[in-house]
């Protein structure tokens, strides 16, 4: 097997201290280090650096800090729960319904839908797949909600159904990653 070049060896050295090196890489690195004083010196420098960094991770507050932290947080959570707990569970459903209905209505009302060639209507198999996909995306929305969407299958085309799914997923991802509300999304 061809010997490592020093640049790759340096990457493997970092991986070895990072504990993300594979056995094969480890074996190749050991072979390289046996014959390369330059990389052996670099390995010592990385060992020193990783030791310093790992010592730094233990600089943390005293025990009393954590006790106070927990007490104070519990107090704030109690205040928060008294005003918000009952209303959270289905608060996003109207927004999700609004998005879906807006797409469905747009197909009927906007002028471009008349001038364009009609989209292929949704067959029952595709429709059930779409409903399943919507269920996944909007989980745990009640199944009745999707039944209503399915009931409107005259308005649902393949193209529109795909749009709904894609918009729905983007919407959920956006909410999750940005921790925003549906109001700000709209």
């Amino acid at each position: 097997m061809k010997d490592l070049d020093c640049a790759t060896a340096e990457e493997y050295i970092v991986r070895s201290f990072d504990k993300s090196i594979t056995p094969k890489e480890s074996w190749r690195l050991a072979n390289h280090l046996r014959n390369c004083p330059h990389c052996t010196q670099i390995e010592k420098e990385y060992a020193e650096l990783f030791n310093r960094l790992r010592e730094m991770r233990f600089l943390e507050p005293e025990t009393t800090f954590w006790t106070q932290f927990e007490t104070s947080l519990n107090h704030r959570l109690k205040q928060e729960s008294s005003k918000s707990f009952p209303r959270w569970s289905w608060g996003w459903v109207p927004a999700a319904a609004a998005i879906v209905l807006a797409v469905v209505c747009a197909v009927h009302l906007l002028p471009f839908s008349e001038t364009k060639e009609p989209d292929r209507p949704l067959d029952q198999t595709t429709l059930s797949l779409v409903v399943d996909e919507l269920s996944d995306v909007f989980n745990p929305c009640p199944r009745d909600f999707f039944s209503e969407v399915a009931a409107a299958n005259d308005a649902l085309s393949v193209q529109n159904a795909v749009s709904i799914c894609l918009n729905g997923e983007s919407y959920i991802l956006w909410l999750e990653m940005e921790n925003e509300t549906y109001d700000s999304f709209l």
């Binding site: 340096e10 990457e11 970092v14 990072d18 993300s20 670099i42 420098e45 990385y46 020193e48 650096l49 310093r52 960094l53 790992r54 010592e55 730094m56 991770r57 600089l59 943390e60 507050p61 800090f65 954590w66 106070q68 932290f69 927990e70 104070s72 947080l73 519990n74 704030r76 959570l77 928060e80 729960s81 918000s84 707990f85 959270w88 569970s89 608060g91 996003w92 995306v137 989980n139 745990p140 997923e169 959920i172 991802l173 909410l175 999750e176 990653m177 940005e178 921790n179 509300t181 549906y182």
Partner: protein
Amino acid sequence: MDDADLVTAFRNGNREAFAELVRRYSRHITLTILRIVGDLEDARDLSQEVFLKAYTGLPRFFGISSFKTWLYTIALNHARDHVRKRRFTHAEQNPDTLPTPNELPGEQWEPVLLTQKIREEIEKLPEKQRLTLQLRIFDGLEYSEIARILGGTAGGARGNFFQAIKTLREKLKEIA
């Protein structure tokens, strides 16, 4: 119970499940924020606000990402917003938390000085490299988790970590 079970339990009305999530992550989240804002009191307040956000935001959490990466994402965004508003840096705060040369004998001062220099060099790294380094070394996150939190791919996160460590080694060599 894993995090997903606790999230489900909380969404079904079990508030104790959220308390368990707080116990699991409060230390990590607070220390992560502390490393970004550099002030313990601010870190405590911000960390509590992160858990409050998580508490009210869990209904909008659909499990596409893991709870852990979701929580870290909220924490990092919150801490960075705070730093942008306050316009002060970790490096400016550090001297207060470290002993001065007069407080330690000469042979003990050298490693403290070196650690302080490493901290300063970490602060000078590009933001993505710095956060990747901190999340990997201090929080022990997987590269895939870091990628989810900071954006990009696991390979990209690994590359950022390597660049950060390489830069620090070169700086350490200059100091030595």
